[in-house]
Amino acid sequence: MINPSDGQGMGYMVVGLSQKLLGKSFVMGNESFDSSNFMVVDEDDQLVYFVGNEERENAIMQSYSNPGENHLYLFSSVTNSTTGWHIVNVVEKNEISEESKNIRLTSFLVAGCVLVVGFLMARIISRTISHPLKQLENTIAQVGEGERHITEEEFDYSEVGRIGRKFKEMVNTNLELSEHLMAVKLNEREAELLLLQSQINPHFLYNTLDSLYFVAIMHGDDQMAEMVEALSDNFKLALNNGSKYIKVADSVKWMQGYMKLQNMRYNNRFELFVDISREILQRETITFLFFSHLLKMLCITVWSRRLEKERFPFAAGRSKNNMIFTIEDDGVGIDDMSRLENGYGVRNVIERIKLNYGEKYGVTFESSQEMERR
């Protein structure tokens, strides 16, 4: 104790303290260092009080008195200015560095996680943009290659997807339009044909032919009667009541009539062999002009080249749902095949077949005087 008047020590007051209590008063709260020790040291660096790991007490004291060389412990102290005593907190350096290692590890871990998550997010986001783009690109490429009907590509609802959708819609509408155009073209053609048919006044023609027939009969001219009859039948079948389709049987009848007339003209020069099953005879095709044109053409092309009799085998077959008609001649052949397709009649026939039945149908000509048609 110090005398306040002269500042000299005047005696001691002994205060008894429970060591446990003192210890508690030092450690306030959880400082989370396992190796934390507290000690009280007097002005001469003599240990007054120690709380903590008793086994390390001497080692700690030793490093405390030689501050220059110790590396094991970290000291932080507060000095009481009155007594010159220090309250010292001792922590093992190891533990602090351990702590800082943890901090480093945690920061790395967090940074890593952020990086990975960020990367994944970026990928997902970029996919939602790039996928529809890729789809759009593919679709455009397909259209570029001639595809006119897109069904497989399904676009999502993103902005690019919407563009894709529009594009698909556009292409498909275009297809519809072109199909529509095709149908209109077809109808126009048929209307033209019907107009042509109606311009020929059939009743007047038939009646006159019938009269001619009777006149021939009255004059006893059987050959003329026969010719007029064949011609009358021929016209009747050719005009076909203005209808678009005709039975194969009627087509054959027409061809036979045509042959009859040609044979009267050329004295039995031609012969037509028909080999068609009853089932096919009952079927219908577009007006048979297509057979007639081919037959006419054969007669004309063949005619000037040979002196012997010409034979035309005419046959029909089926493959699945298609009918295949073939007509041949046994003449000397046609040297320039392209001439066949340039004729107005044949070109018209081919065009009508394609318009009516589709692109894959048509007429093919074979060099050894063979003709095939579907």
């Binding site: 059939p202 019938d210 027939y213 009777f214 006149v215 009969i217 009859e229 009541n241």
Partner: protein, 130 residues
């Protein structure tokens, strides 16, 4: 010889059928001809023929009406109608009137012969039965 009447507004058809019949050497003779329905009915009444060949579309009275009227007076007479290109429906109606046969235009030797021989065969059959 069976007796035949031809009714058609076309002169040439009537003459033609006459010529055909004589040329085909059938057992028929044309006993009367008319160019309209009214005249036709008169000829049928006066001649009472075995067979009548009539066109459907004729002036005055159409072919089917002629048949209907003539049927009452001449129940044994056979009728053949000539039908035009688009008168198939009439032809079918004619069959319900008891018309024996029809020839679709144009009338030709073969068609006429077929129709007339068919009728002859039928007569032969009924006579045989009778």
């Amino acid at each position: 010889m069976y007796r035949l009447v031809v009714i058609d507004d076309e002169y040439i058809v009537v003459q033609g059928i006459k010529a055909l019949i004589s040329r085909l050497k059938l057992d028929y003779e044309v006993v009367g001809a008319a160019y309209d329905g009214i005249q036709g009915l008169e000829v049928i009444r006066s001649e009472k023929p075995d067979v009548v060949i009539t066109d459907i579309r004729i002036p005055g009275l159409d072919g089917l009406s002629v048949i209907e009227a003539a049927k009452e007076e001449c129940p044994d007479t056979y009728f053949i109608v000539i039908s035009g290109y688009s008168e198939f429906v009439y032809a079918q109606r004619a069959l319900t009137l008891g018309v024996k046969d029809y020839i679709d235009k144009p009338v030709t030797a073969d068609k006429l012969k077929n129709a007339l021989t068919r009728i002859e065969d039928e007569w032969a059959k009924t006579r045989h039965e009778g």
